[in-house]
């Protein structure tokens, strides 16, 4: 019962933005429209009965062959109520971008850069969206399912 409070609240507040919810193995999850991600995240952080103050992780998953192809996954934690929550937003390949949530949780900065690096998803409004784990000059985005595991990259020299 306790665990579903967040889902109930979200459905009441944003009936048009929540596409799907589930609680597989006790992990509350909401799939939301990507246009509303900023609104929903601000609500999750600031609402008195939710207070998700930790942004633990941002990542993406490539469901190649499905529409939308990518899903950006956010993991939140509320210290006050000791709850975890997962928000997902589908991102189609044709418009591979989503609003950045760095303005809400500053910890998203590097995690979004990593998702951009690995999947090529553009985070709109990110202060410094560049590669983080790979180097400038790397071609492609290696965690996409259509990136071959044995692909070679050109050798590059020092930048200057």
């Amino acid at each position: 019962m306790e665990a579903s409070v967040t889902l109930k609240k979200l459905k009441e507040r944003f009936p048009g933005s929540i596409l799907e919810t589930h609680s597989h193995r006790g992990d509350d999850t909401a799939v939301v429209k990507k246009e509303d991600i900023l609104k929903i995240c601000t609500f999750l952080r600031d609402d008195e009965s939710l207070l998700y103050n930790f942004m633990m992780d941002v990542t993406a998953v490539d469901y190649i062959g499905k529409e939308p192809r990518f899903e950006v996954v956010y993991h939140l934690y509320s210290l006050r109520y000791n709850r975890r929550f997962r928000v997902k937003a589908g991102v189609p390949e044709s418009d591979c971008s989503i609003d950045s949530i760095v303005s809400i949780w500053v910890s998203a900065n590097w995690f979004e850069r990593e998702a951009f690096d690995m999947y090529g998803i553009q985070f709109k409004g990110h202060p410094e969206l560049r590669r983080i784990l790979l180097y400038e000059g790397f071609e492609g985005h290696p965690l996409r399912k259509d990136y071959p595991i044995k692909k070679r990259q050109p050798l590059i020299g020092p930048m200057n």
Binding site: H24, R25, D27, T29, N53, F54, M55, M56, D57, T59, V61, D62, V73, H75, L79, N82, R84, R86, W105, V106, S107, N109, W110, F111, M118, R131, I132, L133, L134, Y135, P142, L143, Y147, I149
Partner: protein, 396 residues
Amino acid sequence: MSDITKDFNTEHMVINMGPSHPVTHGTVKFLTTLDGETIVDLKVDIGYLHRGFEKMCENGTWQQVIPYTDRLNYVSPLINNVGYALAVEKLIGIDVPERCKYIRVIASELSRICDHLTNIAAGGLELGAFSAFLYFVEARDIIWDLIEMLCGARVTANYVRIGGLKNDLPDNFKEKTLEVFKKVRSLWADVDKLLTKNRIFIDRVKDIAAMPPDEAIAYGFTGPCLRSCGVPYDVRKAQPYLVYDRMDFEIPIGETGDNFDRYLVRMEEITQSLSIVEQAFDQIPPGPINVDMPQYRWQSKDDVYNRIDSLIFHFKTVIEGIKPPPGEIYSAVEGANGELGFYLVSDGSGKPYKIKVRPPCFALTAAMPRMMKGRFIADIVPTFDMINMIGGECDR
């Protein structure tokens, strides 16, 4: 007077520290903009140890990921093993036997002690306290002897399996451990005397890189660095996994969140972890260590050679891999640096569809510019030590 100031060069200077620098243990690059000795701007470049962990995982079976997890935080590999195994078990929906849970707690805490010992030893060394380094590395070495006894390897443990463990505790493990702990405690007391009230050490770490609790939360701090700010968040207490709810231990917290508090929190956590291991030895029940589900946990070699059904399951689990039902889960354990999370997606086949690790030191390293602006360049060294950035985990 004005003539002298005219000749001063007051332009900012850009200095590159790393990626291969003696104090950046772990390959990382700091691009510092300096005004004299004061840091005006700091940029951190990571990724020099990137090995494509997640891509490799997606191309092996679920069981083949375990050796890779050893190489995440290679200072405390057993915690990574346990964290990954717990995540896959949550995805499948199985629970391991009681005895296995206790052994996993013992293994995790031994690893946590090693991690904190290494961190403080290296931190002391880089501030000139070479004897503290020698004492704690000796303590770590004798605990590594225990880990070697347990699983045959000192660093790359590869001990935990999905649905169980590689082997049970060896004979006389309890006696040997208690003996080693006596020595560890005496070495701990020595280092405590050498560092905790040492004027040189305190001058270098006190009031440096302090973080207020709300900002630490916003940056996603977890583990000793968050607790040093006074926030008592520990996954072992907040969402107890294995048998941590049956253990009697305290969560040390600091006040100001500076480097000295981070050191004190780690020192206290070592003693708490020693006590958890001793409690686990007192409570551990006899019984099996593996789940009795041949489709998930490998059969014993004896059965594989003598029973046809075990042989079939053996081939199925080795060649095709175990097959968790489709779904997604996030599971977190308390790593030595903070919350170590695994986000797993299964499509029902023998290979992971997606494995994402939430490395605790990734968020900590991201806060380096915030903590270092306005400080001296020499403060980078103790701060980076106390952050305890581990390249293998941060860069994956």
